[in-house]
Symmetry: C2
């Protein structure tokens, strides 16, 4: 089953789909040339939101879980992509250490680890799960349904290397987003490949850096296929250091919200879109003390001040830098439940995806955090086999191809971002 759009299947999203399909060879060539200049992330998942009239990657995860949600039909692609990725990084590779999340307490997450283990085993690597959690002091085995099991080994650190007992990897893969900071045990591993690099840690990334890169990528892409980049790129702005206790800072935020809403409404009018505009406020860093908030009116900022005050307090009075983004409605539905596509990439290749079908949640308002409660629904068709000649909006493979293109734009932007923030890089300016 494939989710449908609640909005009518006409309008800008179909024009975008048509342009993307018509431009397939130039698009693939364009990516090919980009990957000559920029290194793709080792693996990524990208949440895409389809508003029916526009499309946007709303988050990218450089330490993706959820691999267990891919269907068996998608696995060969993941294996083949993993082979290509490994060949490029370290063709001699024999042993791979995967570092899972510290809070690896759910069956779904263990199944994710088991799926990653089979992908890399089939790509020709011995795989060991090495936990950096202080709770894992000895081999800890979890049984999975179906007879498989996952064993977490405590990592063993020597001066320049990280491994596990009897396991010396040449490559270390983080499936741990380092949300609370980069632990010392992962630093100075100069003899091993650590993927993704430490400056990809959630604790150090800034949304504004990524958004700036995405804007650059999508502008050039829009030019390539001749469409308004706005159709794939929500408007955004940064508000540096907003101190909620200072009246002029409150004014600054209120004005910014108002200006952004006005801009969005103007765009909606241009395209004949009847939806109600909204904006989303987020912390620029990945600090979870200020969770994303949707705002529909600059006059209704009461809850924002409240949450901002709490976050500022948690940061010992330090003012927060905020990112203000055009909100993107989500208009895909499976049986009236909100369905948000998630696209999985291994190296430069889109290997599959699934829908997060939201359960038991107020689906009236704009969805800000779709991770709350969901059941996965794998894409019914490949993301790689568009069907030229089908009416726009009528073909699931064509829609999945479009999602795959947007997900690759997001991953490319993350690659730009990591280049820009690489502490090892030499910058010539």
């Amino acid at each position: 089953m494939v989710p449908h759009l609640v909005t009518a299947l006409t309008g800008p999203i179909n024009e975008l789909e048509q342009r993307i399909l018509d431009s397939m060879p130039p698009i693939e060539r364009w990516f090919r040339l980009e990957w000559m200049e920029h290194t793709p992330l080792f693996y990524t998942s990208v949440d895409v939101r389809n508003a029916g009239f526009k499309l946007a990657p709303v988050s990218n995860n450089l330490f993706p879980g959820g691999w267990n949600n891919l269907t068996p039909a998608m696995l060969p692609l993941a294996v083949q992509a993993a082979m290509a990725a490994i060949e490029k990084i370290c063709p001699e590779a024999r042993n791979l250490l995967i570092i899972p999340q510290n809070q690896a307490h759910s069956m779904a997450y263990w199944q994710n680890l088991a799926q990653l283990r089979s992908i890399f085993r089939m790509a020709g690597l011995n795989v060991c799960m090495g936990s950096i959690s202080p709770d894992i002091k000895q081999s800890t085995t979890m049984e999975l349904p179906g007879g498989e099991s996952i064993t977490l080994e405590p990592v063993v650190r020597s001066q320049y290397r990280l491994g596990a007992k009897h396991f010396d990897p040449c490559t270390i893969l983080l499936n741990h987003d380092l949300q609370t900071g980069v632990p010392g045990i992962l630093e100075d591993l100069h003899e091993q490949y650590l993927l993704p690099p430490l400056h990809a840690a959630s604790s150090v990334r800034l949304k504004s850096t990524y958004l700036r890169c995405y804007e650059e990528v999508v502008k050039r892409f829009g030019k390539l296929i001749g469409v308004d980049a706005w159709l794939m790129n929500p408007l955004w702005d940064t508000l540096p250091l907003v101190n909620v206790d200072i009246a002029t800072d409150q004014d600054r935020l209120r004005d910014a919200v108002d200006a952004m809403l006005t801009k969005v409404r103007k765009r909606y009018k241009e395209y004949g879109i009847k939806e109600k505009a909204f904006v989303v406020l987020k912390a620029d860093n990945h600090d979870r003390s200020f969770r994303a908030m949707a705002v529909r009116d600059a006059k209704e900022l009461g809850p924002v001040w409240e949450r901002l005050r709490a976050a500022q307090k948690a940061a010992f009075g330090e003012p927060l830098t905020l990112v203000l983004q055009e909100g993107v409605h989500t208009h895909e539905r499976v049986n009236d439940a909100v369905a948000e596509p998630v696209v999985y990439l291994m190296d430069r290749y889109v290997v599959g995806g699934f829908y997060r079908v939201l359960t038991a949640q107020d689906q009236e308002g704009p969805v800000v955090d779709p991770h709350a409660n969901f059941v996965p629904l794998a894409f019914a068709d490949s993301t790689q086999l568009p069907q030229p000649g089908m009416a726009p909006g009528a073909s699931a493979p064509n829609r999945f191809y479009m999602y795959g293109v947007v997900a690759r734009l997001a991953m490319l932007a993350a690659a730009y971002e990591l280049e820009a923030t690489d502490p090892q890089a030499e910058h010539y300016e």
Copy 2:
């Protein structure tokens, strides 16, 4: 449906399957290292024969047709592999010229071309079919069932480039095996990539060169996984310049057949195999005037002399160099019909395969030319997702994985062969 082996599911083939499965990561790593030193063929199909007690690649095609027999589920793998292949050869590639067979008169062959066209379009190339047949003097369009069509364009040659009207490719892909020799129109194309290279032409390859390379490859592989290389490698010998009119040459051939049969029977005895041994005689070159013949007894060479005499006459009296090979029984059956697996590779990746199910033919004797009459039956499962822990011989994915490994050994051997026969190569000895 998956074909079954007529022979009991015990014995050496299952040990081989088990060893191959157990050694999956080292096998994949071994291939990875080989591809660092040797360039994989751009695309290949390999016929594998399963005797129930041994396995052998019986032919490899460097200009494979039959892509239309791959299922939609296999296509994404082919597209992804094509992306990887193109990226390595010419990342800037925009236009690809495919040169079809001159005798492109069957619907199946046009469908093969259409499939190749979609694979490469989805990998990001504009594709044109440029015929070098003297019969194609203008654009010629063939309608396919389902509304698609294939247009053959006459090629246009300039001093250093080959293309078609309004189509200037950077890469030229041969789907034409150049059986009758390399035409001048394909020579001296120094500004373009021509794949596979001209010395891969059927008219210039020698079976003995390939077999020598395969022997080298499979010996090292056998060592890697700890099995007798004979289980994947039929015995073989070359008989240089056999003049059928000279009695001592006849004796030489008779002795060689006898010696080979004795060797094969000895091996059969070692492994407790009850089958009747046979050998196959082929011309070393790809001359079709001497077609492969099966021989079960050195005393029954009457038909061989007859066919040899005819071939020698066709070659204006020149004696033929023959290759003598241990015959490999084919013991896979679908509904009592012989089923021979064919594995498809794009670059270093196994992307799929199908069974040639032989129809209306005497299936009692050893099959020598399985191409005669067949219906294709696509592999029901992936070649990339072996199922560790399954009993040997009981799992179709495991069997397909094994076929994929053997097919890659054959392709690797062809890569060695093309290196050895490259007229441009500098040989340091």
